[in-house]
């Protein structure tokens, strides 16, 4: 059973902490000019952080006890390929979902 006091400390603490992390630059740095080398690095935030987040989940999904699982790997590959070819987010999600469910069904 989760202790209710601890739960509320976590909800409030996580709320404040998350807001601070999101606000720290757009709020506190604001319109002050940032150095060019920093901006150059920041341009690659999205294409670096999201793949880093996803890669372990694709190769070692927790639902499969952390072992590679063919349906999820195929779905990831198809999503990325369709996304690269069509540049269409919805088409890529659709193709990935169809591959995932198709493979899971085929593999029983």
């Amino acid at each position: 059973m989760i202790d209710k006091t601890e739960l509320w400390i976590v909800i409030v603490g996580l709320g404040i902490g998350s807001f601070f992390l999101r606000f720290v630059f757009i709020g506190l740095v604001g319109d002050r000019v940032m150095p060019p080398w920093l901006l150059r690095n920041l341009r690659y935030t999205a294409v670096a952080v999201l793949p880093a987040l996803v890669a372990p989940q694709v190769l070692w999904p927790a639902v499969n006890g952390g072992s590679p699982e063919p349906a999820r790997m195929a779905a990831a590959a198809v999503t990325l390929t369709v996304g690269l070819l069509t540049r269409n987010v919805l088409a890529a999600i659709g193709a990935g979902a169809v591959t995932l469910y198709g493979m899971l069904w085929l593999l029983g």
Binding site: I2, G17, F25, G27, R40, A48, A52
Partner: protein
């Protein structure tokens, strides 16, 4: 295609954010389900989602609470999962840092992976947008996402039943993220950044509290920036 007014920028944001409805509905429902199963009331589950709005961090906190981890460990781990938001915040600053303070505060509260990625892609595609148009676009992109995050947390909490594992909802997020990143690979530097980040994240998977993601993200960003510098030198 230039976005001419603030209103049309907002509507374009709504349209570009709309595909994420498909992902937010199962993800939010799943949080509501798991939260009530862990013993949270409907009110507590909804408050959690409204106060924090960060799926991955909420799941992390909930799991550690159930394992009776010390409060400080729960908070540190969930915040480490959310550390990428500070990187998003920094990356958005050159684009919307001049907006009104209350708008930046509201944008910070609503900053999620999806709204960040569609917005930064649009800002880079149309650098001539005004700050007001960029803010409008950002708020447009979160409009289909944030209310549904609250609403379906509530639905999931009320349903209170277990979604079968065969639905493979664990993979809704990886698929969305891959679909969102693919169109952003415009230059070799973007590819190098992503590839570097993936390699480091796989090597760093043993680092506790999801800090490996931050290390890998930073490594990818440095690799991307270095490639950009190298390409520029080649051109000169």
């Amino acid at each position: 295609m230039p976005t001419t007014t603030v209103k049309s920028a907002y509507l374009k944001g709504v349209a570009d954010g709309a595909p994420f409805i498909l992902v937010i509905i199962p993800f939010a429902s799943l949080f509501g389900l798991i939260a009530t199963e862990a013993g949270l009331s409907v009110f507590e589950s909804l408050t959690f989602s409204v106060v924090v709005i960060a799926g991955a961090a909420q799941f992390t906190a909930l799991q550690l609470l159930q394992e009776n981890a010390p409060t400080i460990v729960v908070l540190a781990s969930a915040l480490a999962v959310n550390l990428r938001m500070a990187m998003y915040s920094a990356s958005l600053t050159p684009w919307i840092g001049r907006a009104k303070l209350w708008q930046r505060a509201l944008a910070a509260y609503m900053m999620v992976d999806q709204s960040y990625v569609v917005s930064i892609a649009e800002f880079e595609r149309n650098p001539s947008l005004s700050v007001a148009q960029r803010m409008a676009y950002f708020f447009g992109a979160v409009t289909p996402v944030v209310p549904l995050w609250y609403g379906f947390t509530l639905v999931g909490a009320f349903l209170g039943a277990q979604v079968p594992e065969s639905w493979a909802l664990d993979f809704a997020i990886p698929i969305t993220f891959l679909a969102m990143i693919a169109p952003m690979f415009r230059t070799i530097a973007h590819v190098v950044a992503a590839f570097g980040a993936v390699v480091v994240s796989l090597l760093a998977v043993g680092i506790p509290y999801s800090l490996g993601i931050i290390v890998a993200g930073a490594a990818g960003m440095v690799a991307g920036a270095a490639t950009e510098t190298w390409k520029e030198r080649q051109r000169d």
